[in-house]
Subunit: 431 residues, 2 copies
């Protein structure tokens, strides 16, 4: 059973602090292994990637060529998928694409009062690597969420890596890759795949940015290659925080809480409500539903270890608390969510009203499901088209306005002891 | 003397690759020291910060209170600054502020064809720490460049840390802090300051994001606290790449190259030109100017070790090369820069035309001088107002449109084996 807290009880603040500080990361120490693998891939290229892949994924490929997924394989995979599933995937793709197109920033320049031209030129990253986990966590929805924004941004080359342990690949992952416009697919994973994307090999040209979720080895490898390439966030276990008033169907709230809990034993589900009755009813509903949930073992462990039901005096207090948690997902299951929205400060995504379960955003809502975890919504945002473009700032002076602002630059360069800086301005002032 | 390359020579591609691959980082191994300091600050708070500060900065403070800079100290510092310098600083501040206000993103929501509401809510990071180096590299311009965008973004609390070795503080740094709206200033630096900002102490409340340049200890500490807080980029040594046609004053180009070289022995200055004559003339002008430059030692070492003059057949080829270097600063010193701009793909900032020396952007241009180095302009952008805000995505369904897109979500949840996800949607479909 989850922990139950009430703002009326003594020691509430301490309990909240303990909950905020609870460590949910499984900190496997894999960094030294990853360092060696990366070094090996950087120096030996294809040969190293091939060896690690055969070893870790129990494969027997003789060359990197064999690890490249062919068009025929993709078509064969797509052919075996039921039409209803493909249609659902296409709906998700189209809605994600449509929403992410609205996120494209526009380049602009303008002249200020003295005629200095300033601006920003947005351009797409040229080549992106997308990591897709193998096995059970090989989700087609994640392929769409990572690839579509890159494609919309204008990335020319999108390289997908996905391990195929025992030579098994999820056909839906291949279908999602084809649908969303992946350029190349390799059946490789782990730190060796991250290394291949970052440094390049004889077969795989290097990319400029690597995105996508992975296990501890993948995360450690991404941290290590950061700088050589860009990376997205390092995703932690999933979270949901539901702010609910008394007028909720407790079963709806319960299943929303369980939809995060079923992800991972270290996922976290929190209900904050101003209703003691709802708190009690949801607690019972969770237990009831756990008896029929296929992934009940995982969900129960998460709920027991990290779940929480918190009652507060009013919904404003609920928002103050929610902002401290900075949850990945925030549901506002209340009568008047628009009254609470302006009080929302830190959250990866907000799901507004009783008819917007978080899972709709995981698949077909159109927004991205790659969101900041572990309270990082205090300072970061979810994946969007913006993560696949970069901004070059632009500055253009002419002799007249350089003469107006140049002397101040010379003064500041002098006091900072950077004389060549000053000279580079002053040498132009008398022309 | 810098290396000279010509696209006409055999082996040109190999030489360019070697230049691209040259390591300019001074990789001091400080990580284990930093780990211990951070752990100490996290567990012992003020006491640890005080001890490290007294030790490393040769101070004798008895409490953290003594390390907090008072309003009186700031006013005394400002009072001793010449009016001309303060005016130059104010001009820089106002121009930076004005430009960064244009970067503020706007929240929006919209309804799609079936009435699903989607959107993005931008909010400011609540508290930001700004690291300012002490000693010689204590630049007031950097204070403005890091603080003003945070202030414009709406950050409520901006905490500046700046070490004061031997109890010496640069008054201009204090003036810039006051001018730009810093909330609190502490005379602390190094990993201990980064730890205090990230974890908080009895005196210093924790922040959500830390920005600003620092030495190897500061960079290592920022890498380590990343996740607990957000960080800006890890800045490497400075770079300039000048694309120039034949009609340039070689002295202007030479001093622009030297304005980066004087920063750091591992800075890099590159000229790419289609004119053999200009290449020769700039080479001579650099040598000539080095004889009279105060920071000639630093500049000469940088120029000799990492400088390059590259001649190519035409300016289009120059842009192709420049995109491979992805320079922090790109100057287009050519007759028709607008013809080259559309070919620019990777650069932190572009300075357009002969009357826009890079140094104008360091101080008074209005754009930010914190820019991606070490080829990271391939995947990242300079500092802007955007780095101090974060986006919460918004989704709102109603019973009707949930009924339209919900079944596809249920289908996808089923194939991914996440039944609670599916249930959270289907339970709402019959209501």
């Amino acid at each position: 059973m989850a922990i139950k807290l009430s703002s009326k009880s003594e020691g509430f603040e301490e309990e909240i602090r303990a909950l905020l500080g609870s460590k949910r990361e499984t900190s496997e120490d894999v960094d030294h292994i990853v360092r060696d693998i990366l070094h090996d891939v950087e120096t030996r290229g294809d040969a190293a990637v091939l060896e690690y892949t055969n070893k870790f994924d129990r494969m027997s490929a003789k060359s990197m060529d064999e690890l490249k997924v062919t068009e025929a394989e993709i078509e064969a995979a797509v052919a075996q998928i039921p039409a209803e599933t493909l249609e659902a995937l296409q709906l998700a793709h189209d809605r994600i694409r449509s929403h992410h197109q609205k996120q494209l920033p526009e380049s602009y320049t303008y002249k200020d009062a003295i005629g200095v031209e300033l601006g920003a030129i947005w351009t797409a990253v040229e080549a992106v690597g997308v990591y897709v986990p193998g096995g059970l966590a090989s989700y087609p929805s994640s392929v769409l969420m990572n690839v579509v924004p890159a494609k919309v941004a204008g990335v020319e080359r999108i390289v997908m890596v996905v391990p195929s342990p025992d030579n098994v690949l999820n056909p839906l992952v291949l279908a999602a890759a084809k649908m969303s416009g992946v350029s190349e697919i390799y059946r490789i994973g782990g730190a060796q795949a991250v290394g291949a994307l970052a440094y390049g090999t004889e077969t795989i040209a290097p990319v400029s940015k690597i995105v996508g979720p992975g296990n501890a080895f993948v995360s450690a490898a991404k941290r290590r290659v950061f700088g050589t390439v860009g990376i997205d966030m390092i995703a932690g276990p999933s979270e949901i925080l539901v702010v609910a008033d008394k007028d909720n169907n407790p079963d709806w709230v319960a299943v929303d809480l369980l939809s995060q809990a079923e992800h991972d034993p270290v996922a976290q589900s929190i209900l904050i409500t101003d209703s003691e009755e709802l708190a009690q009813a949801v607690e019972e509903a969770v237990e009831r539903q756990l008896t029929t949930l296929p992934r009940a073992d995982v969900a129960r462990q998460s709920w027991n270890d990290f779940g929480a039901i918190i009652t507060v005096d009013n919904l404003d207090d609920a928002m103050v608390l929610s902002n401290r948690f900075a949850p990945e997902h925030l549901e506002l299951c209340v009568d008047d969510p628009d009254a609470l929205l302006p009080k929302m400060r830190n959250a990866g995504a907000v799901f507004v009203g009783r008819y917007t379960p978080e899972a709709i955003g995981d698949y077909v809502g159109g927004s991205n499901h790659v969101l900041p975890t572990a309270r990082s919504a205090r300072f970061s945002s979810g994946l969007s088209t913006l993560e696949f473009v970069k901004r070059t700032s632009l500055l253009r002076c002419n002799p007249e306005n350089l003469a107006q602002i140049g002397p101040a630059a010379v003064t500041l360069a002098e006091v900072e002891g950077l004389q060549a800086h000053g000279r580079s301005v002053s040498i132009r002032l008398n022309h």
